[in-house]
């Protein structure tokens, strides 16, 4: 008989003390067999302390790296500790931990290397501004066409990955607004991507990491990195150690 797969839940957190305890509780209730690690991205509040009192493992950065850097620390952790699959969940309570088993199922059944919780696969009345919706639609259409796999939500940070992808991401992961670029990379390297419909909840606390300046910067950054990723030769995508 095969031993049960080792599952890691990665929670990247930056100043999420008010919401993180609830998120951890919900994750535990949803998937008790998984280990949980909080990546504290140099928070100024008591995020790390709250997480520790909840009894989960906490890895703290000495300086703030941003979401991409924090998530990658989680992947490096998963790779070093030989986890079979990892799932990334936001600390602000936007992702519903009840969806975790659903996201892991295709990985367990070996139907996909990456599973994304998509807000747009089914119309679940997720409210965003028109400009943002249009941007996401454009990027997702473009990426879907390029990698010949259908992606509807290129900005989702709710993702489950298998061991091969853990290894890849532990070495190579984009820094800011990493989600679209990461998907493109995976698609180009022929990893299998599957989307699962999920419902995003209102964030329990804190403010969204997008400001007006970032809204302007986002499309440029993502377009440029998509272009650069496409023009790189394939061997270059996998960085030498």
């Amino acid at each position: 008989m095969e031993s049960a797969p080792k599952i890691l839940v990665i929670i990247p957190a930056y100043n999420e003390a008010p919401s993180i305890a609830r998120v951890i509780d919900e994750i535990r209730a949803s998937i008790p067999e998984a280990d949980v690690v909080v990546i504290n991205d140099a928070s100024g509040d008591s995020t790390a302390l709250v997480a520790k009192t909840k009894g989960v493992d906490v890895v703290s950065h000495v300086c703030n790296l941003g979401i991409g850097g924090a998530v990658q620390t989680g992947f490096r952790y998963a790779w070093e500790k030989e986890y079979d699959m990892a799932i990334q969940v936001d600390a602000d309570g936007q992702h519903n931990p009840e969806d975790i088993p659903k996201l892991l199922m295709p990985i367990v059944n070996q139907e996909a290397d990456v599973v994304i919780g998509s807000r747009y696969l089914e119309d679940r009345k997720y409210k965003t501004s028109f400009a943002r919706r249009a941007g996401i639609l454009l990027f997702s259409q473009f990426i879907s066409a390029t990698i010949h796999q259908r992606i509807t939500d290129t900005t989702s940070g709710f993702r489950a990955i298998n061991k091969r992808v853990i290894e890849f991401f532990s070495k190579e992961y984009p820094v800011d607004f990493p989600d679209a670029e990461a998907l493109l990379l995976l698609g180009l390297l022929d990893f299998k991507i599957k989307e699962i419909p999920t419902t995003m909840r209102k964030r329990a606390s804190g403010t969204s990491s997008t400001s007006i300046l970032k809204e302007i910067y986002y499309p440029f950054k993502v377009s440029l990195s998509i272009l650069a990723t496409l023009l790189r030769e394939k061997p270059l995508l996998r960085k030498e150690e």
Binding site: V59, S60, H61, Q72, E80
Partner: protein, 118 residues
Amino acid sequence: MHSRPQIVAVFLSLLTVIVIFEMVRKKRLKEEYSLLWLILGIVVFVLSLWKKLLFTISGLFGVSDPNTTLFFFGIFFMLLFIFHFSVRISDLSERTKSLTQKLALLENDLQKTKEQTG
């Protein structure tokens, strides 16, 4: 015949080369970063002494005023410096990221080892 700006240029470029070299000697400036500065100093030094060359280059560029040529080289080198720094910063931020991650993971491991051994 030496014009006053020419004398100033010779003096300043010579000073640049000497200061940069001294900084390298005292290990306050790394060789790889001093190279561009030294080239800048030497180019200005040569151009300010060797008037004919300056005029020839100006002629090649189709500019009547040799000062324009000097300004051109000045700005060109400045952009080169800035670009060089952008590349270095990209490299450094990648290293900082990787080190921050490794440090966080090692600290986590260390803490666990300490807890286990009491």
